[in-house]
C-alpha cells in the first residue's frame, strides 16, 4: 500500500516536472501565439477573429477553438485560421440537460488542456458562447499549475453576460465590453472598447434603382429576425398589415423572413399566414406596400434607406443600428442566457433610440399581437421629428471608439483605459430572476414599502410572468402564480381562479406518492394567496370557497379562509360563507380549524358566540386561543350583546398551553431604542 502510494506520487511529480520544463522551452520558441475561441453563432465568431487580426503583426500564429457541428466550421477556415473542434453543449438547469452539459464541459476542458499546453499561447481570447467556457477554465487551470503563461481575455458583446461568461469573467484577466452597462458586472476588470468588428466586413452600399422605385417617397420599414428568421416577428408583421392598410400610401414594409436552414421555414410560414388571414382582394392591396423574401443580400442598402427597423435585439443588430443611427422597434427574445436581448433592448430604449414591444403568449406560443406592432409602427412613421431624434440617440448607445487602437493598446501595451467615467452617467438596474424579484417584493411588502420597477422592467416581468404561467414545469407555473400577486396582468384573475378550480388528475405514480391534480397543491395555494391583490366579486368568492373547502390539500383550505378573511368587508350575504366555515371548523387539520375560527370572528353574528364558546375545553390550545381571539374580535365589532353572560362563560376556558412566546428583555429594548432613534 505504502509502496504503491509512493510510486504514484513520484510518477506524478516526475510527469509534472517534465511538462513544466518542456513547456518553458516551447514558450521560449514561440512568443507570438494566441488562441481564439467563441462560437455557436456568427455573433461570437467575428469579434474573436477581429480582435485576433488586430493583434497582427505582433501576434501571428493563431488557432481557433470552436464547437463541433456549428457555424464556425464554415466561417473560420475562410479566414485562414486553423480550427480545432471540441464538443460543447449549452448550459441548462433542467434535470435531463444538465448532466449532458456537465459531461461535455468536462470532456471539453480535458481536450483543451492538451490543445493549450501543446500550443502555449500568449493570449487566450474568448468571446462567449458555450465553447469559450471550457477553454477559459482549462487555461486558468494550466496557468495556476504554471504549465502555460497566458493572459485570459474575454469579450462580452451584450449588456448582460450569461451564467458561464459571468463565471469565466471571475477568472479572466481582462474583459472587453461593448456597452458601458456591462462594467457593472465585471467591476474593475472591465474595459469599455465598443464593438470589435473589422472595417472591411461592413457592407458596401450599392445603389439599385428598383428599391427607389418601390418606395416612391414612402417611409421604408425593414423587418428582420436575423438570417434564420424569427417566427414571432414574421407573424406579427403579417398580422399588423391589416391595421396598416389605411397607411398604404405613407409606408412600405420589407420583411426578411429567414433562410430556413433550421426547423423553422420562415418563407413558407409567411406565405401560409398571408393566405389564411387575408382575402384575395386584401392581398392585392397589401402587396402594394409590402414585400418579403427569405433573405436580402443587399441588407446594407436597405438599412441605409430605411426610416426605421423592426427586429430582434442581439448585440450585432444593436451595433449596426447604432452605427447607422437608425430608430427601431425591438422585439427581444425572452429566456436567453442572461436575458441579454432584453437588456440590450432596454439599453437602447434608455438611450432614446428604440421602442420595445414584448412578446406575450398568443394561442399557446410566444408572439406579438399585430395590433400592438401596428400601433407602434404608426406612431413612429407619423412623427418625423421623433424619428430624427431617435436616430441621433441610437448612435449614443454604443461608444464609437477606435476599437482597434484600444484593443492593441490594452492587450499589447498593457494600458489601463477603462472608460469608467462612461458608467457614472448611466443609471442601470440589472434584471432579476423570478426568485430574486419575488423575494424582493415580499420583503418590501412585509416592511410596507413600495417596490418600484421602471416601465420597461415592468413590461419585461409581465411578459416573463406570462411565459412562466404557460410552462409545462409546475415549479415555473408556481413562480408565475406568485408573481401575479405583484403584476396585475389582464385576465390574471380568471387564470388564477382557473388554477384553483383545476381537477385534472396527475399520473398514477405521483398520486401514489401523495400528489393530486396537475395544478399542484402549491399552485392552488399560491393562486389563492395571489388573489388577495385583486378585486373579487362576492359570487366569485363563494365559488372559490365552495371548491377549495373540499380541496384535498390542507394548505389550500386554510389559505382560502385567509383570503376570505381579507375580503370579508365586501361580503353582504354571510349565511353561505358561515355554513362552509363552520364545516371547516371541524376539519381534521388544526391549521384549517384555527383559520376557520378566526374567520368566524370576522363574519359571525350573535348565533356563532355559542359555537365559539364550545371550544373552551378543546385539546389543542391553538383552537382555544383562536376561539378567544374571535370572541374578542366580535366584542370589538359590537356583536356580543349579553356581555355579562359571555364573560362568565369564558371563565370555563382551559388556559394551559404547550407553547409560549419568549420575551428577551434585552432584545426588546434594543429594537425599541433602534426604532426611537430612527424616528428622530
Amino acid at each position: 500500500m505504502a509502496n504503491f502510494l509512493f510510486i504514484l506520487v513520484a510518477t506524478i511529480v516526475t510527469i509534472y516536472l517534465f511538462l513544466f520544463v518542456s513547456g518553458t522551452f516551447i514558450r521560449r520558441k514561440y512568443r507570438d501565439r494566441a488562441v481564439l475561441t467563441g462560437g455557436g453563432s456568427s455573433g461570437h465568431i467575428y469579434p474573436a477573429i477581429a480582435i485576433g487580426k488586430w493583434l497582427q503583426p505582433e501576434i501571428n500564429d493563431f488557432i481557433f477553438i470552436g464547437a463541433k457541428g456549428r457555424i464556425e466550421e464554415k466561417v473560420v477556415p475562410k479566414e485562414n485560421i486553423p480550427l480545432k473542434l471540441i464538443r460543447a453543449y449549452p448550459y441548462s438547469t433542467s434535470l435531463t440537460e444538465f448532466p449532458k452539459f456537465l459531461f461535455f464541459l468536462m470532456l471539453g476542458i480535458l481536450k483543451c488542456l492538451f490543445i493549450l499546453y501543446e500550443f502555449q499561447p500568449k493570449f487566450i481570447i474568448g468571446t462567449g458562447g458555450f465553447v469559450s467556457a471550457p477553454v477559459v477554465f482549462a487555461g486558468y487551470g494550466l496557468k495556476k499549475l504554471g504549465l502555460i503563461n497566458s493572459k485570459i481575455i474575454l469579450q462580452e458583446q451584450n449588456v448582460s453576460p450569461g451564467k458561464l461568461n459571468l463565471l469565466a469573467g471571475k477568472i479572466a484577466d481582462k474583459i472587453f465590453v461593448t456597452f458601458p452597462q456591462s462594467l457593472y458586472y465585471f467591476g474593475n476588470k472591465g474595459y469599455l472598447i465598443g464593438y470589435p468588428v473589422r472595417k472591411n466586413v461592413k457592407t458596401v452600399n450599392v445603389e439599385s434603382p428598383q428599391l427607389n422605385d418601390l418606395i416612391k417617397g414612402r417611409k421604408l420599414i425593414f423587418a428582420f429576425g436575423g438570417s434564420q428568421g424569427a417566427k414571432s416577428i414574421n407573424r406579427a408583421v403579417v398580422d399588423s398589415l391589416y391595421y396598416l392598410l389605411p397607411y398604404k400610401d405613407k409606408i412600405y414594409i420589407i420583411l426578411s423572413c429567414g433562410l430556413g436552414y433550421s426547423h423553422y421555414n420562415g418563407l413558407q410560414d409567411v406565405k401560409e399566414r398571408i393566405d389564411s388571414k387575408y382575402k384575395r382582394g386584401e392581398i392585392e392591396e397589401i402587396e402594394k406596400f409590402f414585400t418579403y423574401k427569405d433573405y436580402y443580400y443587399n441588407v446594407g442598402e436597405i438599412l441605409s434607406k430605411s426610416s426605421f427597423v423592426v427586429g430582434r435585439s442581439g448585440a450585432g443588430t444593436i451595433f449596426e443600428l447604432s452605427e447607422i443611427g437608425l430608430p427601431s422597434i425591438l422585439i427581444p427574445k425572452i429566456g436567453l442566457s442572461g436575458e441579454h436581448q432584453v437588456m440590450n433592448a432596454i439599453a437602447m430604449k434608455k438611450a432614446g433610440g428604440a421602442k420595445i414591444v414584448f412578446e406575450k403568449p398568443l394561442n399557446g406560443e410566444m408572439g406579438v399581437e399585430g395590433k400592438e406592432l401596428a400601433e407602434a409602427i404608426i406612431e413612429l412613421s407619423s412623427n418625423e421629428e421623433l424619428l430624427k431624434k431617435m436616430g441621433e440617440n441610437a448612435k449614443k448607445v454604443i461608444p464609437h471608439f477606435d476599437t482597434e487602437k484600444l484593443v492593441r493598446e490594452i492587450i499589447l501595451e498593457g494600458k489601463e483605459i477603462k472608460g469608467i467615467e462612461e458608467t457614472a452617467k448611466i443609471e442601470f438596474a440589472p434584471l432579476l430572476s423570478p426568485e430574486k424579484i419575488l423575494s424582493k417584493f415580499s420583503k418590501c411588502r412585509e416592511e410596507k414599502k413600495e417596490f418600484q420597477v421602471d416601465e420597461d422592467q415592468k413590461n419585461y416581468y409581465e411578459s416573463l410572468t406570462m411565459n412562466l404561467l404557460r410552462s409545462k414545469d409546475w415549479k415555473k407555473r408556481n413562480q408565475g402564480v406568485k408573481l401575479l400577486a405583484f403584476f396585475k396582468i389582464e385576465g390574471a384573475k380568471e387564470k388564477l381562479i382557473k388554477f384553483v378550480n383545476n381537477r385534472e388528475k396527475v399520473n398514477r405514480f405521483k398520486r401514489f406518492l401523495g400528489g393530486d391534480f396537475e395544478e399542484v397543491g402549491f399552485i392552488r395555494r399560491n393562486s389563492l394567496l395571489s388573489l388577495k391583490s385583486y378585486d373579487i366579486s362576492e359570487k366569485e368568492l363563494l365559488d372559490l370557497f365552495l371548491i377549495s373547502s373540499d380541496d384535498p390539500y390542507y394548505e389550500v383550505r386554510s389559505s382560502c379562509l385567509t383570503l376570505i378573511k381579507e375580503k370579508c368587508s365586501t361580503i353582504k350575504e354571510r349565511g353561505h360563507f358561515l355554513l362552509i366555515t363552520k364545516k371547516l371548523a371541524t376539519d381534521k387539520e388544526v391549521e384549517v380549524k384555527e383559520d376557520a375560527l378566526s374567520l368566524i370572528g370576522e363574519i359571525g353574528g350573535e348565533e356563532e358566540v355559542d359555537f365559539l364558546l364550545s371550544f373552551k375545553d378543546n385539546y389543542f390550545w391553538q383552537l382555544r386561543n383562536s376561539a378567544l381571539k374571535s370572541l374578542l374580535r366580535m366584542a370589538e365589532r359590537g356583536i356580543i350583546k349579553d356581555k355579562e353572560k359571555v364573560s362568565k362563560r369564558i371563565d370555563e376556558f382551559i388556559l394551559t398551553s404547550t407553547a409560549y412566546k419568549p420575551i428577551f428583555e434585552i432584545k426588546e429594548n434594543f429594537w425599541k431604542l433602534k426604532k426611537s432613534l430612527k424616528g428622530m
Binding site: 412585509e446 416592511e447 401523495g514 397543491g521 389543542f620 391553538q622 398551553s657 407553547a659
Partner: protein, 368 residues
C-alpha cells in the same frame, strides 16, 4: 500520554504500583470524561466572548421582521470547542497506535474540518443559506468515505482477517453477509447518510448534542464488550482486540458533550455549527462501522434516522416533485413545533425518545 507516563513511572519505581490504574479502561474512561468536561468549562466562556468580538455569529435562515425571539446573533462554531476538548483529552488518556481509535479520530477530525470550512464560508456570505454548495459537501464526504473504506479493507484494518467485510445485524449471532463489494458500497452510503442526518438534527437548542451522547455512550458499552475476550464470548459478540479503547473515547466525548450542553441548553449561548454536527456525525459513523453495528444505528440513532428521512422526503418528494407538503413541517422537530409545542418542550421530548431508543439498543446485547 498519561498511559505511557504511568507505565514509565511504574517501571522505574516499585512504589508507584498503584499507577497501574491507568491501564484499566474504566479508570481512563472516567478520567478522560472529567478532563474533557473541565476543558469545556474552562474554554467555552472566553471563546463565546471571542466569537462575539470576531462576529462569528449565526445568521437566521429567514430574513423576516426583527423579533425578540429569533436567534440570529448567537455565536456559532461551538463545534471547534468540542473538537479541541475531545481531541486533547483523547491524546492524554488513550495509548497511541490503536487502529480503532486512530480511524475514529481521523474521521472525527476530517469532518470537523469539513464543517469548519463550511461554517467559515457561511460567515463570509453572511447568510444562513448555503455555505459550501450542497454538492461540494457531498463530494468531500464521499471522498472521505472512500478513504475510510480503503483503510479498513487494507493493512490498516483493526479487524481480524475474516471479519473485515462481515455485516452483522442486531439479534443474530452470525454475520448475514461477507462480501467486500457489497459491504464497501453499503459503507459508502452509510457514512454519507449518518453524517448528514446529524447535521440535519442540529436545529434547536440542545437537540443534537444529547441524543448523540446517548448514541455514543451506548456504543461505548458495545465497545467494552467486544474488546473483552470473556464478555464477548459470553454474549456471543465477535472479539476485536483493542476495541475497548473506544469506550474511553466514547466517555471522553460524553464529557465534552455535557460540557457543551452547559452552554448550549435553551436559550443557547452558543451553537455547535456544522463543525460540531458533521464531526459528531463522522464520529458516530466510524464507531458504528468499527464495532460492526451499522444496523443497530437504525434503532439506536432512530431519532437521527427519522430526522433525515422526514426532511429528505419532504424536500425531494414533496416540495420538489409532487408540489405539496407531505409533512406539515420538516424535519420532525419543526413538525412538533408546528403542532403548538414550545421549543424547549420539543427538545426534552425528543431527548426522552432517543433515551428510550438507546435503552432498546442496549437490550439487543442480551437478545441474540
Amino acid at each position: 500520554m498519561l498511559y505511557y507516563l504511568a507505565k514509565y513511572l511504574m517501571d522505574s519505581n516499585q512504589q508507584l504500583g498503584f499507577l497501574r490504574l491507568f491501564s484499566y479502561i474504566s479508570f481512563r474512561a472516567i478520567g478522560g470524561a472529567l478532563t474533557s468536561i473541565l476543558i469545556m468549562f474552562l474554554l467555552t466562556k472566553p471563546f463565546i466572548h471571542y466569537f462575539h468580538k470576531r462576529k462569528v455569529l449565526d445568521y437566521a435562515r429567514d430574513t423576516g421582521i426583527p423579533s425578540s425571539s429569533d436567534k440570529s446573533g448567537t455565536p456559532t462554531m461551538g463545534g471547534v470547542l468540542i473538537a479541541i476538548s475531545f481531541l486533547f483529552s483523547s491524546i492524554l488518556w488513550i495509548p497511541f497506535g490503536n487502529h480503532f481509535v486512530s480511524l475514529t479520530l481521523l474521521s472525527f477530525t476530517y469532518f470537523a474540518f469539513l464543517g469548519f470550512f463550511d461554517d467559515i464560508s457561511k460567515l463570509k456570505k453572511k447568510s444562513g443559506e448555503g455555505g459550501h454548495s450542497e454538492k461540494l459537501k457531498l463530494v468531500l464526504q464521499g471522498l472521505f468515505a472512500l478513504i475510510f473504506i480503503l483503510l479498513i479493507f487494507n493493512d490498516f484494518t483493526p479487524f481480524p482477517e475474516k471479519e473485515i467485510s462481515s455485516l452483522y445485524i442486531p439479534i443474530l449471532k452470525n454475520p448475514i453477509l461477507n462480501s467486500y463489494l457489497i459491504y464497501g458500497v453499503f459503507l459508502f452510503f452509510y457514512i454519507i447518510g449518518v453524517c448528514n442526518s446529524v447535521n440535519l438534527s442540529d436545529g434547536l437548542d440542545g437537540l443534537a448534542i444529547v441524543p448523540s451522547t446517548f448514541v455514543i455512550s451506548v456504543l461505548g458499552v458495545f465497545a467494552y464488550i467486544m474488546g473483552n475476550a470473556l464478555q464477548s464470548k459470553y454474549l456471543n459478540f465477535p472479539f476485536f482486540s483493542g476495541a475497548g479503547e473506544l469506550t474511553v473515547l466514547a466517555s471522553i466525548f460524553a464529557g465534552s458533550a455535557i460540557g457543551f450542553l452547559w452552554y448550549n441548553a435553551y436559550p443557547a449561548q452558543i451553537f455547535m455549527g456544522d463543525t460540531g454536527s458533521l464531526a459528531i456525525g463522522g464520529l458516530i459513523a466510524s464507531m458504528t462501522i468499527l464495532l460492526k453495528q451499522e444496523f443497530l444505528f437504525l434503532i439506536l440513532g432512530g431519532f437521527f434516522v427519522v430526522e433525515a428521512l422526514t426532511s429528505q422526503i419532504q424536500d425531494k418528494i414533496g416540495v420538489n416533485f409532487i408540489g405539496r407538503r407531505i409533512f406539515h413541517r420538516a424535519p420532525i422537530h419543526h413538525e412538533l413545533q408546528y403542532k403548538g409545542i414550545a421549543e424547549n418542550k420539543v427538545v426534552v421530548r425528543l431527548w426522552i425518545i432517543s433515551g428510550i431508543l438507546a435503552l432498546l439498543a442496549i437490550a439487543t446485547i442480551k437478545i441474540r
